[in-house]
Symmetry: D2
Subunit: 438 residues, 4 copies
């Protein structure tokens, strides 16, 4: 009765020219992202969750060197033997490495040397793309595509990490010129709930249908009960009411671990909100740190940089709940919203358009916490080899966030994309969308 798994099929690789262009575009964005940064900005690690900018640039390059050039480049020789130790992230199968919380100790190689490393690997890889044997091409193209999506993930991480680092500084901390003031909308569209019937519905994707990470596979069927989901994300103004209603001081809204987290860390508001008075009582009393500097907190924009615990508590306070990741995916498939767009001049979530119908802000604004723990789908198996460590080994203790954010590079988002973070993490550009039982 129940269709269980579509066996995954290899996708047709893109043309060489197309892949070459894709490679250039993605790699080029990484270096554009660091233009406003100094060498000092690029070396410091602001907390163990973050990596130095320079490390992101080098690690993504090492990824191509290690998994593509080494496998397909005739006469391959490592650019520098020590880089494998320095720039391996977490692949135990590859070997030992610089401890994660010590990435910021690596003052050498300097930023210039890392950029030179990028150039050399790019040159070799682009040459290989043009010259490799046809029989190798499909396998190589698959790895290159993983590498490009991997680099895009690090582009978003890089922006998150730069934001965190610069937010710590008592100095003026504008990273990116921005047109934020112009684009701010005063009022978000009204909150409405859309109803869905549920049923036995398709979830996930298969590689044959286009690029995806292994954690989105296999495509399978899931039983979804009838539910309602909000047309847009929760706004700063709405969230400020929760704060004003003593939301952070009333245990009844919080999971036990969240309540401990709030009290241990003295949490009183979202991460980048900054009270302008000793006893703030409304949204006017806060400014917000953004990649364009400090500015007034905009009530119509989606609340961002909240932990799962905060999202979950807000939802309970609002008499709702978070959607499951399956509900979110089903709603996204049905409504087809792809509203967000990556814009280096507006690296900030934007208010939902008042005239928008269906769902808004499913993509390109803020990631959206779900109530789903990050686990393997039925029949899930990691890809073989070292890359099997990419996703599978993290399937414990983390929660799924869906959608994508204003920091997600173009072409990276997918409706089946599963992002995942520990429930106390807030340096992600993540917010929430309400749901409830039908």
């Amino acid at each position: 009765m129940v269709r269980v798994f579509t066996p995954p099929t290899k996708p047709t690789p893109p043309e060489r020219r197309e892949l070459t262009e894709h490679y250039r575009v993605v790699r080029n964005l990484s270096t554009r992202l660091i233009e406003p940064l100094s060498p000092e900005d690029c070396v410091v690690q602001s907390m163990p969750d973050c990596s130095p900018t320079k490390w992101h640039l080098a690690h993504t390059t090492w990824f191509f060197e290690r998994f593509v050039l080494r496998a397909f480049d005739q006469g391959f020789a490592a650019y520098d033997d020590r880089y494998e130790y320095l720039f391996n992230s977490y692949y135990n199968a590859v070997g030992k490495r610089q401890a994660r919380p010590k990435r910021g100790m690596l003052t050498r190689p300097g930023l210039g040397e890392v950029l030179a490393y990028r150039d050399v690997v790019d040159e070799r890889l682009l040459k290989l793309l043009g010259t490799c044997k046809q029989e190798d091409y499909a396998s190589m193209a698959e790895l290159i595509e993983i590498g490009l999506h991997h680099e895009q993930q690090h582009q978003e991480l890089l922006l998150m990490d730069v934001k965190h680092l610069l937010s710590l500084s008592p100095m003026p901390n504008v990273a990116y010129d921005s047109e934020l003031e112009k684009s701010t909308v005063l009022h978000s569209c009204d909150l409405r709930f859309l109803s869905f019937d549920g049923g036995i519905l398709p979830i996930g994707t298969n590689p044959a249908d286009g690029f995806c990470f292994d954690n989105e596979t296999p495509a399978h069927e899931a039983l979804i009960h009838p539910f309602e989901i909000a047309n847009r994300c929760v706004t700063n103004a709405e969230y400020a009411e929760f704060v004003a209603d003593d939301g952070y001081r009333r245990s009844e809204f919080w999971l036990d671990a969240g309540w401990t987290w709030v009290n241990t860390n003295g949490i009183e508001h979202p991460m980048y909100w900054c009270p302008r008075t000793k006893a703030p009582t409304s949204i006017e009393d806060y400014s917000e740190y953004t990649l364009g500097g400090d500015r007034a907190l905009a009530g119509a924009e989606p609340v961002s940089h909240v932990s799962f615990f905060e999202a979950d508590a807000y939802a309970r306070w609002a008499g709702c709940r978070l959607p499951t990741e399956f509900e979110w995916e089903h709603a996204a498939c049905e409504t087809g919203d792809q509203s967000g767009q990556f814009d280096l001049n507006v690296l900030h979530p934007r208010a939902a358009n008042q005239n928008e119908e269906g769902t808004a802000q499913m993509q390109g604004n803020v990631w959206q916490w779900t109530s789903s723990a990050y686990l393997g789908y039925p029949g899930y198996a990691p890809v073989p080899g070292a890359l099997g460590e990419y996703n599978g080994k993290f399937m414990n203790g983390q929660m799924v966030a869906r959608g994508s954010s204003c920091l997600t590079p173009p072409g990276h988002a997918r409706v089946s994309y599963r992002n995942f973070f520990h429930p106390d993490k807030r340096w992600v550009c993540v917010g929430l969308r309400l749901a409830k039982d039908a």
Copy 2:
């Protein structure tokens, strides 16, 4: 098409006489459990997860006083005003309390005073049971039943905690005389896998069908894909092969958080195994700490006191996986095994009988880790009031264990029972049962 929720209905309460007898039996077991213990054994807290025996005895009593006597006893006066602070466990709605890791600082009231407190509350409650108005009876009986199941949970915790405490002592540490030697079986039955077709199947229970905790509700339908599940739990002998195969030193079997846990804590074997040599190579090189003292590690018995991380790594090493809690529940419903029996003389898991058919050891031996994160069922809502904190607020970061153990008191286990622990906890009498995709 899909039947979603059966609305929960109030159960018919038991007769007064029956409930009185139930109360006597359960409460009496608590005091029998401490017979072999000294006042010193009863006051010390061996780690934050554990509570002192004396605290268990007092807290379960306070539960009846606070939630039953206070609500239904005319002219109620608290036995001692300070006890609410001392013996409230985690009910924020009730008020402030002794910090959990400091429960062991409470040398006063002493064991004798706590036993006197038990007597007074028992007397009042039994009197109330006989005299309360009929219109109150149903509500009161419901709370008493929760209190009795609550006390049974603490009976198992008490035994787990005593085992942990006594295991720390370099002195002879026999807590309970035991007939372990007589009952040890040399060979477990062979490992076989039973196949299930899956489908849309009933999961959970409703209060109308008998006592259950709110986390087992509502009864609902779940989509289960075809699977196979082992006829019995993994044995010490089988687990020893994993150890001998360097299972604890090979990252490929471990979740990332598990690998960190293993290396941070220097984990090399299950919690109560004790190497008899510097470099143990087989099961003969270990003894095992039990509530009956140290003894040779018995190969045919189920491995116990392993963390979720260990269970999960073992399953991956064995080319299998852990079952989901839904697979486990479905298999248990179908096979109906109720093999275990609580026996104060054998507080230890026992080998599966060689002749057993279907599934063995579903109940009464070791809890069994599942691959399911502990989350609310579709439509789950905590009960109103302070008791709503009983289960719901812990639905984050924990994994579900199913079945019951040799330390679970008689009458406490259910096929829909959901136990839950953080994935690194090992002081629970918990093991694992293998599963795989069909």
Copy 3:
């Protein structure tokens, strides 16, 4: 010109009868001290600095067994082989042992068994005292005397530790009936400073002059500059002025490490002061926890349970300083005050008598912090063997406190006695006496 060291000479041992009586008296006091305590009170360890009462009773007994009986008792057999592991405190030369912070895990042997152990060792030792060969007597008597002074140290520790443990309880926590109310004096004598000329003066003592610990040796000469020292200790009333003058919030009075300590731990008043209001402003706003329970804070009594950091900050606030241990010893020699007396009914410091001349409260009230770091005297050498670990290895990072306290057993104090604690310790019954340059 300078007389440097008097070579230490062995003292004449006391008569057997006299030593026997001394032994009985000292050992008997230990068991009298625990009369008001329950087995539960005796097993719990309230913090790593403290030891369980039961452990003190067993350790002091083990000291006699290990260092006297084992050396002199023909046919010696250990009472229990495991006790050496359990009850060795810190003698590396003797072997491995129960980790100090885990002493509270030892529920077994129970209090009864420890008391039985005491009886057996006492019986053997008293018998040996009567029967040992005359040629062994002097050596044995020396060790027994060390053992008795060692036991007296632990009697004071036991009282300090019980006070700390019971202070943690929200329950009524009277340990010892007390006549505190009757003995409280309303006004202390006036503060006066006594002048001393200084010079090259004798410091320390030699074993030939009576029992002393090795850290008091060798007697030697020290250069003391002219100084003044207060006639009595600082009172609670005086200390309360420092508190009211924002002493805990003004960095200028504090050593850097003290300032960190104050802010990290949120210190606002002496350890056992308990504010009765949210914003206390005067001494009337505090109660004090004592071994006789909570009572009003008595202004005329010496302030106690302050850290070195607090004592040093108070002195700086008062425009004075702490005395060096040499100034203190010289003043004590010259004025000869032996005011305090151990009284099981008044285990609390007492106000200085208004008519007292010279120095009051040098002994028997509160230990007195000095400005001297705890280091070896010129020519200091630890005694040979395991007992060399008694004092010498602690000569780093601690400050000297001089005098004795109301918890110091009779016959234990000496003018050359050097007590020592880390500068943040406050569970000691310690206060301060002011000094200044002449």
Copy 4:
């Protein structure tokens, strides 16, 4: 009889031209020190004890701006208001500041901006030096001299901190070209002990006798007992014998706190020794990290980068002890050795010349641990105002090191100079010299 204190007298200030030249020379050395470093090297903080190079450069500049320009420059305006927060080190009297362990988070202002800040302050200060009124000159000159000695302290810290940072890198880590190989001497001179009679002897200095820090005052008399002191420091070869004799595994040589430190941190050799084999047995089995890169460990050179605990344990193993700081100062006064010389090409301690008489290596090689706790001299009073925090508030928990090291800038060392560190610190270029009782 005893001469106690010489009242300190203000020194005659240097000529304006002389001070101008002194200022130029000292300030110039700071920028020469960073020539081999990249911006990345200059921003990272490798541990809380260390500061980023950039921070050292800015803080020393701020010191002149805050304490000289602000006081004497007419029409003073702060270069940047935020710099006081960023670059104040520990002056509570000045106000709040960047937390010490977070100095490495300050990516902005960048190195270039800090160098520009230096230029502006230098220009202003040099102009002021030429133009200030004569009546202000003496006071200003005194502050400038403090500022220059302060900068020299930070020059040594900068080199220590750079050494620590670069030692963490798995990459080639040569900071400074060096002529180490040429200068290495194969054999040190023989170890001899020089005898001193002791007596009542002058210690410390007064400002009237030339620049000194307040912790060297007042000059006073101290009683020194007869002693012997080694002609040179302990060498690597000698220290290696201690290591080979299991010195790090035998508790009898260690202070209790040192023994805990060794075992908690797994210490097995001096900080920058690097074993070339798994089980090193002699000095040939080690290389050493230096500011000129890794090289063979040179037996004849003084051991360096050992903690007080190691120095003290070595001395005990050798049957000796450390000298007191008074013994050290007296020996240095008598023998007049000023052997070391700062050389940017040899930033490394050097072997003692074989022909040397009297004491060698008193200055300019390695600081030398003494057995003296860092406390105020009799009659010590900090200078008034914020600069009173310079030394006095650290007089607790630290040990005195005497002499100077190969990293100490020219003109900074003095025979009465008191350096001080916590007993576990090893990133200092510090070794030891043996002493014993006469």
